[in-house]
Symmetry: C2
Subunit: 324 residues, 2 copies
């Protein structure tokens, strides 16, 4: 009889370039226990999966054993949801030249369904399951970190496209002539301007083209980070504030194009840059409403993720588990 | 017993600014009969619906009576799928200052379910039901006529967004500085460059900024149409060919951004400009594959609608009926 009860927990695995963090999560989005291993301490994927399972089993036992676990969700770079694979991930030593069937490998060891998707998609699903997008059927999630990632939800479903790789909004072209080079090998991408590294780059450019006084001049230009810019801006530094205004305006223009695509109920932002608060969120929303097509003006909400930073990636990954 | 058989027909209504064409359509996309009225010959929407039903009933009788009709679909400007309404349609005398519950009005008179959507969405649904997108779950339909319209299908469903107005890809911003003014009141929109009127405008610009010989110089510049440009290009006119190349390249760049959004299996083009064939389709595909993010390169198909021009709008509208 026991097995006919709905299973109360899922496992989330936030697989990052440095750490791989496992968490046991309940329906309310509470993380009951976590454990972790170093992602790259293993020669090959078999060793990684073996060590992962060894690290995970004790917290599964704490939660009442594998019978209590409905499924497992993985958020990982270069993950393909359709195939359950990690493909040619440049930052993973055991997957950078190959296609790894990671979902199946964990499923074989644990005997439960396992799903996988990329980090930004996991964030969107997490937000829908536990966060700011609860009850929403149409929204766009933008993660502003080292890069710009995205997860798009339409009609209550994540958009994967024909190949599992849809939702790369960091790589729409915002500057068509003389655009900045982007990590993807192209130029003018949103990510080259509106990621944390893009913000630092904008600050360096502003410092170079003017002699305007700024708190940022006390720092080694090559070492300026988006956090430095945010701190200077919060102290009233005019140049730093203009950096955030420029960044926010470009995000607002990009969102206006995204609205023409899917007319979302909300744009939800996650990641380091959102710590700057109104400094970035206000120019985003203002530029959006100034620039968007008439019929969309004033309709969309601009929200910051409500998921706790430390747990957000694990929660996002775990959320995939409920649908499996 | 008869009524338990699946009903074999739907009605499609292509509601245009000039004519409103009704058609009886079967599952294979064959139009069995049509009839039409002048859209604007009526003082108000009640008279329009009354005249429409009077015009439609004889062809319904021909098809075996209303019991043979599953439902009716309407393709109309400024239509809202969620609400079943036509809203503030500038080109419709009886709906330009008001919200008209057109689907419900036809449904009340006919006693069958009636759905409504805008023209480009209807084209996408028609393509999925009877045309080039049969069997596809993810594609983008672009209609290149007086304006640039779009219908987006993701996971087998048309994208309507939170308000019913999603899929306005003619109004993504392609030129962010000194862009052409667009009919929507903004500047730099795709439509301002890649509609039939945009093509004519590009030709006029090219004729103005150079003294290059061209067949188009024989025409009154103000009266040049996209068809003139197409005819000149097909005769080898270099300037006219460059107009199509410019247009195709911009469409290719736009499609590269759309791929980052939804990674479609195909882009399907419909409308007058597609008559130019390779002159426009080749630069679209070449620019797309040159410019798109690596992971998408070479994956998407670039297709021209396979629906017969005369019937396409009626077929598209009718296709809504099968899902009601």
């Amino acid at each position: 009889m026991e097995e006919q009860q709905p299973k109360p927990f899922v496992v989330g695995l936030d697989l990052g370039g440095t750490n791989s963090v496992f968490g046991i999560v309940n329906q309310r989005g509470e993380i009951l226990a976590t454990s972790s291993i170093k992602t790259q301490a293993y020669k090959n994927v078999d060793d990684f999966v073996k060590a992962g399972v060894e690290c995970l089993l004790p917290i599964i036992e704490e939660a009442g054993g594998i019978k209590q676990i409905k499924a497992m969700g993985i958020g990982a770079p270069n993950a393909n949801y359709y195939k359950g694979t990690v493909e040619y991930a440049p930052n993973l030593s055991w997957a950078h030249e190959t296609v790894v069937p990671l979902a199946q490998m964990f499923s074989d060891k644990l005997g439960i369904p396992v799903g996988i998707t990329n980090d930004a998609n996991a964030a969107a699903i997490g937000e829908m399951q536990y966060g700011a997008a609860r009850g929403m059927k149409n929204f766009v999630m933008l993660t502003l970190g080292t890069g710009v990632g995205s997860g798009i939800v339409i009609n209550g479903q994540l958009v994967y496209g024909c190949d599992g790789f849809a939702g790369e909004l960091g790589h729409v072209t915002m500057v068509r002539e003389n655009g900045r080079t982007c990590g993807c090998g192209r130029t003018g991408c949103l990510e080259a301007y509106c990621s944390a590294t893009g913000v630092a780059r904008t600050a360096r450019e502003y410092l170079t083209v003017s002699t305007e006084d700024s708190l940022l001049r006390k720092l080694d230009p090559e070492k300026i980070t988006s956090l430095d810019v945010s701190i200077a801006a919060s102290k009233g530094d005019a140049l730093a504030k203009r950096v955030y205004e420029f960044t926010g305006k470009m995000l607002g223009d990009a969102c206006a194009d995204f609205a023409a695509f899917c007319s979302p109920e909300a744009f939800i932002f996650f990641g380091g840059l959102t710590k700057a608060g109104d400094l970035i969120m206000k120019p985003i929303e203002e530029e959006y409403n100034k620039h968007v097509l008439n019929i969309f003006r004033g309709k969309a909400k601009f929200l910051v993720s409500t998921l706790d930073d430390a747990g957000a990636a694990v929660l996002g990954a775990s959320a995939i588990g409920w649908d499996l």
